[in-house]
Amino acid sequence: MADWKDEVEEIVFDGKICVPYSWTVGSTLSKWYGMMRDNAEIWANRCPSCEMVFVPPRKKCIYCYKDMNDWVKLAGTGVLETYTVVQHPEPGVYPKEPPFVYGIVKMDGADTGLVHFIEGVEPDKVKSGMRVEAVMSKEREGNFMDIECFRPIE
């Protein structure tokens, strides 16, 4: 019996679909991004029922399904809860050249974590539990990179 591969001529088509998209930020995040862009401030919102404070803010509490119209300004500091050091390049996927660090920051006054880049420190010096602060971008456009990164507090 012939090898099974011999019976098939391998013909493979290359394809690439380029579809443009534009995403609506919505009523809640437009406030958040507006306050970052215009005032360089990071805000959160609080559930009127369970009092959890969410950053990034959202319209509904995920636990109570209550509208969260109660906004609180955060100091911009927090604790790095966990992190990873990205070592391998992934062009078109990663926004930075490796090695770089991203982690989850539990901001002071908030009950949820914020994912962001950790900079201003050698990757091998990053530790879970270290105190960090947000660095706001000089040029802010109302998007996630209005926070440039989090860096250790000296």
């Binding site: 088509f13 394809g15 679909i17 579809v19 443009p20 998209y21 534009s22 995403w23 609506t24 930020v25 919505g26 009523s27 809640t28 995040l29 959202r58 319209k59 509904k60 509490c61 995920i62 636990y63 399904y65």
Partner: protein
């Protein structure tokens, strides 16, 4: 045979070409909140949730994950369905299956789309087989245009017949506060609108909308306890036949013929035109509002143009079709079929507002998707 299931609450967003005030998640929460209000229920009383939208339409997959907050699905059983244009009526079927199998008492079905976020035609092209038909596939309009060309030639239907359907649906939408397109049009307006793909013109075809819809289904006992007049599911039938676009029988609509025949049999319908009091039909182009009436057994083959011309399917005719304005007025694709289910349920519950048809006891719903799938759902005021 499953258990009896009733629809007890319906909510939908105000639909528009672009809802730039709200994200997709916020649209979902708008519909969810309104359906709970309609049913006078709280989220705690919902046992399971199914969500549906089109793959590729917002370039975000796993909506069942990232929309959890808007959906109110935290710590509930939830999953996603996606079956093309029929996504919404598949959600209707899912609601029936979930509550009818006895595993859940109250389930919420949520369909949504934010069409403004993508190039819908490019995204739709990804449904075609990539090594055979994708290059030649001409989006959603081409196949519908081709099938009506054949129908016109076979039975003497005209472009004006289709225009009558467009006028009916668009003008009905004027009485629906949620409808996307709100414009008074005449047959002349439709005939004079720009030709998109012969014989389909701009005012013949559905728009792309941002919007969401949520419908709550319940087991017999719960439905009786929670709702004064539930819309009972009498039948829910799905038929698919796609292999390749080129294989389809375009002169008729075999999946709709088979699905409706089976649904009529289950629900005991002998004369659909007489026995239904209202129909919310997935008519994506006015041409389908002519041709597919044959496939619903409303008349003999080729009889549809006569029905349309006589006004049988107008709001004051024998069988009012699409009092909501239908798909030609409002089309947030993953929600579109579920809006048909919700609108038909509202007609039975007497909650359709300014477009309420009097004394609705039985309602017919259809869904259309892919090329060319059909779902048929029959709702009734009496227990099945």
């Amino acid at each position: 045979m499953g258990n009896r299931v009733g629809i007890i609450g319906v909510g939908q967003t105000h639909h528009a070409a672009k809802r730039l005030d709200a994200s997709g998640v916020e649209l979902i929460s708008e519909a969810v909140t309104r359906s709970l209000d309609d049913a006078e229920m709280t989220l705690d009383q919902i046992d399971a949730i199914v969500i549906g939208n089109m793959d590729h339409f917002e370039n975000i997959n796993y909506v069942d994950m990232w929309a959890t907050d808007g959906l109110g699905a935290c710590m509930k059983p939830v999953f996603k369905v996606s079956t093309g244009g029929t996504t919404g009526t598949t959600l209707g079927a899912c609601g029936y299956y979930h509550a009818g199998c006895g595993l859940f008492d109250t389930v919420m079905m949520v369909g949504w789309e934010k069409n403004s976020e993508s190039d819908t035609q490019a995204a739709i092209a990804t449904c075609a087989n990539p090594v055979l038909e994708r290059d030649a596939f001409a989006g959603a309009i081409g196949p519908l245009a081709s099938e009506y060309s054949m129908y016109m030639k076979a039975y003497g239907a005209t472009q004006e017949d289709a225009a009558i359907v467009a006028v009916r649906d668009r003008n009905n939408a004027l009485n629906n506060q949620y409808a996307h397109n709100q414009m008074k049009v005449t047959v002349e307006d439709v005939m004079n609108s720009p030709m998109l793909s012969f014989p389909i013109k701009f005012l013949d075809i559905c728009p792309r909308s941002d919007g969401a819809c949520a419908v709550i289904f319940a087991s017999e006992e719960k439905a009786k306890a929670l709702c004064p007049r539930p819309a009972w599911v009498h039948a829910s039938v799905v038929r698919h036949d796609y292999t390749h676009f080129g294989d389809l029988e375009w002169k008729g609509m075999p999946t709709l013929e088979r699905a409706s025949k089976e649904a009529y049999k289950i629900a005991g319908i002998a004369d659909p035109l007489k026995e239904f009091d209202v129909a919310e039909l997935y008519i994506p182009a006015s041409t389908c509002g002519v041709k597919w009436m044959d496939s619903l057994w409303f008349c003999d083959k080729g009889g549809a143009p006569e029905l349309v011309r006589k006004g049988t399917l107008e709001i004051d005719g024998q069988l009012p079709v699409n009092p909501s304005g239908g798909v030609i007025a409002t089309n947030p694709i993953g929600a579109t079929g579920l809006i048909r289910v919700g609108e038909a349920a509202w007609q039975i519950m007497g909650r359709a507002g300014d477009h309420q048809v009097p004394d609705v006891e039985k309602a017919l719903v259809t869904g259309f998707g892919g090329c060319s799938w059909s779902d048929v759902i029959i709702l009734g005021a009496e227990l099945p």
